[in-house]
Subunit: 385 residues, 2 copies
């Protein structure tokens, strides 16, 4: 395929952002084919900004248009699996905004549809393009940390004010979004969590607070404790209500430790692997010597544009995907499990009991009050991810 024509579905905050760099021809081999935006109030503004792009407000008309080869889905979360499946059925490649969906059974169906279609399916996990996480992943996978023992992530720099939550009726409601900081801000970290460790937990205990610091139904603060079959443990801490936030990831293993904070990666490696030191050392209070190992980390992440370019390249020339769509289920499973553990006030074991999660979520959707104080606003996403 010479040029990939992309149909963008949903021109809210993120969809408009993707449209902007595509419209500016920043993605090699790709152009915008058409827009689908069902909120007619957005039409005039979109036509002003994106002169000449065909705009549909009707989903069927959009899919019948023949104006694109692939879709980029940037609608509210619940609709992702349905729209992706529709696109696969019609023969379109799919790049979908995170999260993959709101609960895992529908994401599983989406993954099956993608596999059957043989089409390209990617997710907008733009943080996978960050060289610092790619470097850490390589250290882990090359065994430079030895066997992993502990991973702690304090990720509290997702500040969101009440005005953010009030910008759309669907935001931060059970019926509209199915969650808060876990489903909207943290899919990136939850994706990286699994992508780095390449393991599913044995069980976890989640502690979510719902509407604690914001007038919302869903979680705005979370702490979770995870245990793995290997004995490794993890702690994940997030909130949208703290400033200045922290983004600090620590991973320890039998051979050393990595800390990522303030966009810097620090790597200590032990001279002797810990279990071997422990076995041979007889001096009581001593500990294994370690060395700071300098690691060169490339500077720039290619970010959203990098994921879109990779998706386009995959279609054009079969380039391997950095964020294959089928992997979206892993982070979502962690997110679902952290909420479910809070709701049942107990451990959640893996594999996740999907039907229990859906039952508990349904209860909350039914009781959802929605919002009547929201005003539909498209926000400047320069501070978002």
């Amino acid at each position: 395929m010479d040029t990939v024509r992309i149909g963008i579905i949903g021109l809210g905050n993120m969809g408009t952002s993707h449209a902007s760099y595509l419209f500016q021809n920043k993605i090699e081999g790709a152009i915008i084919g058409a827009f689908l935006e069902e909120r007619s109030g957005r039409v005039a503004e979109l036509q002003r900004h994106f002169d000449g792009i065909p705009l549909f407000t009707d989903e069927d008309a959009f899919f019948r248009s023949g104006l694109f080869d692939a879709v980029l889905i940037a609608t509210p979360h619940y609709s992702h699996p349905r729209l992706a499946q529709k696109a696969f059925a019609e023969g379109y490649h799919v790049l979908c905004e995170k999260p993959a969906g709101v609960f895992t059974s529908e994401v599983r169906e989406m993954n099956e549809a993608a596999a059957e279609s043989g089409l390209v399916f990617s997710l907008m996990y733009n943080q996978r393009t960050k060289p610092i996480y790619q470097t850490l992943r390589k250290l882990i996978h090359d065994g430079e940390l030895g066997s992993i023992r502990r991973m702690n992530w304090i990720i509290t720099n997702w500040y969101r004010s009440q005005s953010y939550y009030d910008s759309s009726n669907w935001r931060a409601t059970w019926a509209g979004e199915g969650g808060g900081v876990l489903i909207n801000q943290c899919p990136h970290q939850l994706d990286l969590w699994g992508w780095l460790l390449q393991m599913e937990p044995k069980r976890l205990r989640g502690f979510c607070s719902f509407g604690k610091y914001r007038d919302i139904e869903v979680e705005d603060e979370v702490t979770a404790y995870l245990e793995y079959e290997t004995g490794a443990t993890g702690v994940f801490i997030t909130t949208t209500a703290e400033a200045p936030g922290t983004n600090r990831l620590e991973v320890t293993g039998t051979k050393g430790k990595v800390v990522i904070e303030n966009e810097e990666l620090t790597f200590w490696q032990l001279e002797t692997e810990e279990p071997a030191f422990n076995q041979s050392y007889k001096g009581g209070f001593g500990s294994p010597n370690s060395q700071l190992i300098p690691i060169e980390v490339k500077e720039d992440a290619t970010d959203h544009e990098g994921i879109t370019q990779n998706f386009v390249n995959a279609i054009r020339s079969g380039e391997p995907l950095l964020a294959p769509g089928k992997e979206g289920i892993y982070g979502l499973t962690l997110s679902n499990a952290m909420q479910l553990s809070t709701w049942i006030d107990d451990w959640v074991s893996f594999p996740l009991d999907e039907s229990l999660y859906e039952k508990e979520l349904s209860k909350r959707i039914q009781q959802s009050q929605g919002k009547n104080h929201a005003t539909e606003t498209t926000l400047d996403v320069s501070g978002s991810h």
Copy 2:
């Protein structure tokens, strides 16, 4: 009192360390009056090192000797409350090594005996002498952080090899010590935790691993999640099996954040308090501005010698205690609660159910296998605290 004569009870690792600086006249207004060391095998070595100090191997003879005005207790944990109460009954001031005891009901009795006696009672919480923690405490108490929302402590630099555990039969057994990293290494951090926050949790969920990385009965790895009546939360993470360890404390409040790591304190303060910003801000993705506030922290901690000097000054001139003995129960309650939560695999609410804790501990003491591979060794404590 002109010169305080101190009787040191227990000349193991820590007792010998205290004896050394007292013997070198590093504490103004104090001398060593006598030693009580029941292990006769230690006698020759002690007499060689501490020439001229009367040494008793019999407790009653020691207490009858009239050779001291105060005692410094540095025996295994279980005996602390009994020995302190005996000392108070005989009219002696008491400086006791941490922890105050192994379970809280006996510590409560010890505290009552201390209060009735009117004698000076202090605990060896030498980390309270660290200017960096004193500075943080003042920031919190002066309201510079606003209302506290979260405290996270990763304190994994307590590396202890198997050879440390094998240095005494009582170490790291339920019968001999009543716990592991929580009761032996972390009493300092658990004391500082309460001393900094000046609040008792509403409830906590503890996740201890027992003998995971060492051949011991007790906990060598712990994660705990705490909730407070005010809405504040906390996470405490520790282990004796990691190198190089981490010691990172983060405290956030409505007005800012403090991080202590690598012996440095960093303080960010918000221009507008977070709830006020959230209420007035209408821009969606923005967050409150913050500034790094330079804080001068004095360099040197006076450490063990500082606590001993303060104890002696309190006896001689009524100087206020930095680590009053009665406060030892707070950190111990956290420690007990983290173990109990693991044992019952459930939340532990405060006030702690002391009898349930003792029942669960007793079960483990009864099943305790002790150790038959230990060799009695006095270790160089230069790496200890």
